[in-house]
């Protein structure tokens, strides 16, 4: 099975890549291709031009930039999972990367590619929301920053314009985070049936700030605002965690599919928020 034919360009500079995207209709950016190529084979997407960004130097670094870390567009899941900077400052994202699919996919697929695609239930978007990541997009029109909270619009839809490349993400340091999920075949591999990414900042024995994100629960990942509100100002006790977990799907249209009914998935959302919070507040 082939994907439909297309023009393939592999620029060696960002400017060339942006020009290629601006100069053609119906383009797609190719980084690892672990989602894009299957989608093309199944004819869900049919770009006429594919812009491979893997030969652009400088996009595959994870760097320490003072009050934040930066993850470049070509950083593969395997690197995100094992990189000491990500493990120290953004452990929810490292854990999400480590539980994504299998090693064969993690060796090629990229963190930014997964974010840009926003596949239903993908691991990375939930972690990016909880960590308050900033998305850095570039096009021939210039660069812009998009907050994670404004980035994941709907299933397979992000705030990126067709001529933009997600060149990097930045994640502020501070706080503690984790990612917990139930995969479709049990365990942590495969897409989650339900997953929670949580970030908390604790000072003087109370939770001073929190963000709780869920993915796999609705058509796009979301911040459970009610859960965070229930937690902030509390002592992080079991009661506070239970209260936060009870708000995990407030106001959300919970998915139903062959893996879980609405009732079961709603239950799972609370369970995974609770487990993740127990982990970071232990």
């Amino acid at each position: 099975m082939y994907p439909p034919n297309f023009d393939y360009v592999a620029p060696t500079s960002l400017d060339e890549a942006l020009a290629a995207l601006a100069g053609a209709e119906n383009t797609k950016v190719l980084s690892g291709g672990m989602s894009l190529i299957p989608l093309m084979k199944m004819r869900f997407v049919r770009p006429t031009t594919v812009v491979d960004i893997s030969r652009i130097p400088g996009l595959d670094d994870v760097t320490d930039d003072g009050d934040h870390i930066t993850i470049g567009a070509m950083v593969r899941h395997a690197t995100t999972a094992s990189h000491p900077l990500v493990q120290e400052h953004a452990s929810a994202l490292a854990e999400a990367a480590n539980g994504t699919a299998d090693l064969l996919v993690r060796n090629r697929g990229t963190t930014c590619g997964s974010l840009a695609l926003n596949a239903v239930a993908a691991d990375q978007p939930g972690a990016a929301l909880a960590l308050n990541a900033t998305m850095h997009a570039a096009s021939v029109r210039g660069t812009r920053e998009i907050a994670a909270a404004d980035f994941f619009l709907d299933a397979m839809t992000s705030a990126l314009a067709p001529d933009e490349i997600l060149t990097k993400i930045t994640i502020p340091k501070g706080g503690v985070s984790t990612y917990r999920k139930l995969g479709r075949r049990g365990g942590s591999s495969d897409y989650p049936i339900a997953a929670a990414a949580v970030w908390v900042d604790v000072s003087d024995g109370s939770v001073s700030d929190a963000r709780i994100a869920l993915n796999g629960v609705s058509s796009t990942p979301y911040l459970a605002v009610g859960s965070a509100e229930a937690l902030v100002g509390s002592d992080g006790s079991a009661d506070a965690i239970a209260s936060a977990a009870s708000h995990a799907t407030d106001g959300v249209n919970v998915l139903e599919d062959l893996y879980a009914t609405v009732a079961f998935r709603t239950h799972l959302a609370g369970v995974y928020v609770r487990r993740a919070l127990e982990d970071v507040l232990a």
């Binding site: 034919n5 297309f6 393939y8 672990m34 299957p38 084979k41 491979d52 060796n107 090629r108």
Partner: protein, 160 residues
Amino acid sequence: MTESILRLTVNGALHTVVTSSHRTLLEVLRKDLDMTGTKHGCDLGECGACTVLVDSKPMLSCITLASQVEGREITTIEGLSDGPFPDELQTAFSELGAAQCGYCTPGMILSSRSLLDTNPDPTTDDINEALAGNLCRCTGYVAIISAVHLAATRTLGRAE
């Protein structure tokens, strides 16, 4: 649509292929280079039968365009033996009967090769994790995992 000349380094040899941009590494290996050891399974990156090593790391050739790996070192199952001498993993798989239909075997062996190259003394958990993307529809996993242990033990024994 793009028809291009690709220079692919496969098992240490440089091959020049004229192909169109939509073709996968798997198709080019099997049809243009006649290297049919790499198997064509699910075609969507689920099963791992198409596993090859790219710069020593296992990857899925069925969802990788040939164009993407130009200039990389590609290793297929044909490149694992040293002339007539099989790789330690091939010997162990053969001795323990760690193949039933054999279709997953090249991928299993290449994923295992990459594991042992970076982790010469893996635990069973390490092996399970490394082979999680390689499915065996005959469900012969027990013998496969034993074979990886055996190859690791023999390699370590020789190193001592």
